[in-house]
């Protein structure tokens, strides 16, 4: 029994079909608890008032936006090395979700920024990096759609994802060089004491868990759709 067995589409469909109902319930539960707790069970910030509560959408979506790209990088690498189709399709399936999360993070940030910074948009390094990330997602999705041969498309998008990762990382630090930011420091940290107050911290963790689960089931569902599309296309090709 090895992890790679799930690269077999039939196995993957079986497992994901059984996982999705369970995960959906967990996602709904954690998102409901996290957001209700966050919105109604936490005090207002003494300086920011109730606008602080947008953190429960902003931070998880921003985390998913970055980690979705990392997941695409890993699955692309698996495709390039081991040529498992499910892996390439999972990367394809994750891209629009990552783009959506990037836009949610930018959108919630803008809504928060207007009352707090007095502007929807500032050329702050973090904001700028996210805009660049959105453009990377757009290019990646556009490349998938532009190429008809699916294997060539998987190859090229995987290579683009690898090269893009390097340059996205470079851009992330290059923008620091170019402008000092307005954005506050990290809200969460594994190794440092630096994080938001406990009153916000625990509901935030629940929200993050909810977003991660949401991302996982969305990727699973979209990958299943892609596999079914593939199967339908090959059936059609056989009939003509």
């Amino acid at each position: 029994m090895s992890f790679w067995e799930y690269a077999n589409p039939v196995k993957f469909m079986g497992l994901s079909g059984r996982l999705i109902p369970v995960l959906s319930v967990l996602t709904a539960l954690s998102l409901a608890v996290g957001i209700l707790w966050g919105f109604f069970g936490t005090p207002d910030d003494y300086k920011q008032g109730s606008t602080v509560k947008i953190i429960f959408l902003h931070v998880p979506s921003a985390m998913i936006a970055i980690n979705a790209w990392i997941m695409m990088m890993v699955t692309s690498l698996v495709w390039l090395i081991r040529r498992h189709h499910v892996s390439a399709l999972a990367a394809k399936a994750a891209a629009p979700i990552g783009l959506t999360m990037t836009l949610i993070a930018l959108g919630t940030g803008a809504i928060w920024g207007k009352p707090m910074w007095g502007t929807y948009w500032a050329w702050d390094p973090r904001l700028t990096s996210f805009m660049i990330l959105a453009v990377f997602y757009l290019g990646y999705i556009a490349l998938w759609n532009a190429i008809e041969d699916t294997d060539v498309a998987a190859d090229l998008t995987s290579i683009l994802c690898m090269v893009g990762s390097v340059f996205a990382l470079l851009s992330r630090y290059a923008v620091n060089f170019w402008n000092q930011g307005l954005h506050q420091g990290a809200s969460l940290s594994l190794d440092k004491e630096e994080h938001v107050d406990n009153a916000f911290y625990f509901p935030l963790l629940v929200c993050i868990a909810g977003f991660v689960l949401l991302f996982v089931i969305l990727v699973l569902i979209r990958t299943r759709t892609e596999i079914r599309l593939r199967r339908a296309a090959s059936l059609q090709a056989r009939n003509t």
Binding site: A142, I159, S171
Partner: protein, 218 residues
């Protein structure tokens, strides 16, 4: 490799297209700026470094699809791929030829154009240095974009979408070094980072381009 390089140079100079086009585009961009923002010389001096860098970058972008497209259409690329030369060597030679026909002339043209935009005196040497160091990165990164999109009909727009985010670090380091010199600060740190970026691109991008070409030629 040398033969391929000189062949690409000859083609670029003879057909006239790729060579003159980038320069003309650069000239027009710089010429348009005063119409757009007004002829105030102090304002022009402030935005000159950015305009010159963006203009050079866009002019470079304009001629990228020529690197592989024509050779792909008439089958030359397939012949080259079956030659004993490694694909990464081919992409490196073509990217270098692209730099000699666009990046180098753009670097030289930036000096008189900088004068038109009232670029302050001490910045010329840094403008020249940053473009001379930075444009090879533009050509090598661009060659990767061209290799990815070579099989796509009318891939020009997609090429721009893919390449522009990859150009961001180069643009930042290049433009910042000129801006620093205008402001009387030390432009050397960003110039060194730019040089590092160029070396990185020149060494590694030909392999990425070769991978992309191989996927496209199957």
């Amino acid at each position: 490799m040398l033969a391929l390089f000189t062949r690409d140079l000859k083609l670029a100079f003879r057909s006239g297209g790729g060579f003159g086009l980038a320069l003309a585009f650069f000239l027009i961009v710089v010429m348009f700026v005063p119409f757009g923002v007004g002829s105030d010389l102090t304002l022009l001096a402030r935005i000159a470094p950015g305009i010159l860098w963006i203009g050079a970058l866009l002019a470079c972008l304009l001629s990228l699809d020529r690197i592989f497209q024509l050779d792909h259409e008439d089958g030359t690329l397939d012949v080259l791929a079956t030659s004993p030369l490694p694909l990464s060597g081919i992409t490196a030679a073509k990217a270098t030829a692209h730099w000699v026909t666009t990046g180098l002339p753009l670097t030289l043209a930036a000096i008189p154009l900088g004068y038109l935009l009232n670029l302050p005196e001490p910045a010329y040497i840094w403008l020249f240095a940053s473009l001379a160091i930075g444009t090879p990165a533009l050509s090598f990164i661009g060659a990767f974009g061209a290799a990815v999109t070579v099989g796509i009909k009318r891939g020009g727009l997609l090429l721009s979408l893919l390449v522009l985010p990859l150009y961001i670090p180069t643009l930042i380091f290049g433009a910042v070094s000129v801006i620093k010199s205008v402001d009387g600060l030390n432009p050397l740190p960003s110039l060194i980072l730019l040089a590092g970026l160029t070396l990185f691109s020149v060494v590694l991008m030909p392999f990425a381009s070769a991978l992309a070409l191989k996927a496209n030629l199957n």
